[in-house]
Amino acid sequence: MTPKQLTQKILKKDRLSLARFITLLENRDTKAIEALGDLYPKTGKAIRIGITGPQGVGKSSLLNQLIKEVTKQKKKVGVLAIDPSSALHGGAFLGDRIRMQSHTLNKNVFIRSMATRHNHKGLSSALHDAMTALDAFGCDVIFIETIGIGQDEIAISQLTDLSMLVLSPDFGDKFQALKSGLTETCDLLVVNKIDLPKSKQALATLKEMTYLPVLGVSSKKGTQISVLYKKIIQQYDALKKSKVLDFRRTNQQKAAIREKLEETLLSNFNQFWKDKKIQLEIDRLLQKKKNPNQITKKLSTKL
């Protein structure tokens, strides 16, 4: 089936076509990217929510609980869960899904795992486009789970309507270290695993450190999850009412365009870097005929 036919079937809610189309987007298939044009006009309904936070804090487990909240209201949920590709061999273990698989047979839930595949921000290069597909497919809510390496935190906040940072009480003293840069790009701080000891202290410490709303939950026990979901919807409604949402959505498109241009530049640059001329210059460096600054200057004129 051609990408164009796939998009037509996505609009008719065909899961197989949606899944195949996302694969083509991950491969950055030019025809599929073109066919997105048929889906864009059908987007805008879905609330796009980013979930980030350090490894193992319970992002997938929290998502598992949040999916329950959304589907209780008979709404459709899409999930894009990102896991890291190995820089060494390019392989990836897509381990988020296993925490959410109680929802697999629910026809109102579509979960898709994606590897980062060397995306320079630690997301997936297909992320924004895949959200377009899920939105056009009819999802009311789209959740994105990122790998939580810090730099993807800003990137995900730029590509979603709102985002939350998940932490856990066993971070305790490390909260202080997080302060520089991490906490302020999202809309909400969630402390997961409040069933663990010392969580009251951790919550109190965190609340002192930030002006953002802080909420403690336990994904294991299901504590405070509905409160969290209500809070998310409240925030979303407020964004919508104040027109901040329009502003954010325009910026999402802008960020996505920038991201794609950056990737083009980077891939052109990687091509340039493979050129034999570069090695010739490096050889001169080794022979001490030239210094690195001179070489950089000379090469920069050829960029």
């Binding site: 899944a19 195949r20 996302i22 694969t23 590709s85 061999h89 392989g91 897509l94 590897a115």
Partner: protein, 133 residues
């Protein structure tokens, strides 16, 4: 256009709880550069097929040690047909009597790896036979 990747789902249908083999295969495929999902133990055929659909995998590995492989594999393969899933490379592993192998292959399962098969053999079989999308 980026390099295509082989994406594999390793699944354990049925009731046995031994997944050391399935996990070892998952790791070997990942280390060979594939993108790998593992379902965990005790998954129903419906569940496995729906996961294969949503994740659009190229390869499905079924591991079964419980002895119920014939009915479970049959159910998985007929559900795949019913859902019009095409181009999927399926292989199986676990304790499977020799007599069953021809019948399993008739279901559309390409290869059967008995316990103790070298992981490198499974990896190169997949690299040779999988159709990347």
């Amino acid at each position: 256009m980026q390099a295509k990747k082989i994406k594999a789902l390793i699944a354990k249908p049925g009731l046995d709880g031994h997944d050391r083999g399935a996990i070892a295969v998952s790791q070997a495929l990942r280390d060979a550069g594939m993108e790998v999902l593992y379902t965990g133990i005790r998954q129903t055929p419906q569940h496995i097929v729906e996961t294969a659909i949503q994740e659009d995998v190229d390869v499905l590995g079924l591991s079964c040690l419980s002895g119920a492989h014939m009915s479970l594999f049959k159910e998985v393969t007929s559900l795949l047909k019913k859902n019009k899933v095409k181009g999927l490379l399926i292989f199986a592993g676990g304790i499977i009597p020799d007599d069953d192998i021809p019948k399993i292959k008739k279901m559309g399962i390409k290869q059967v790896f008995p316990p103790g098969s070298p992981l490198s053999e499974i990896v190169s079989f997949i690299q040779k036979s999988a159709q990347k999308k």
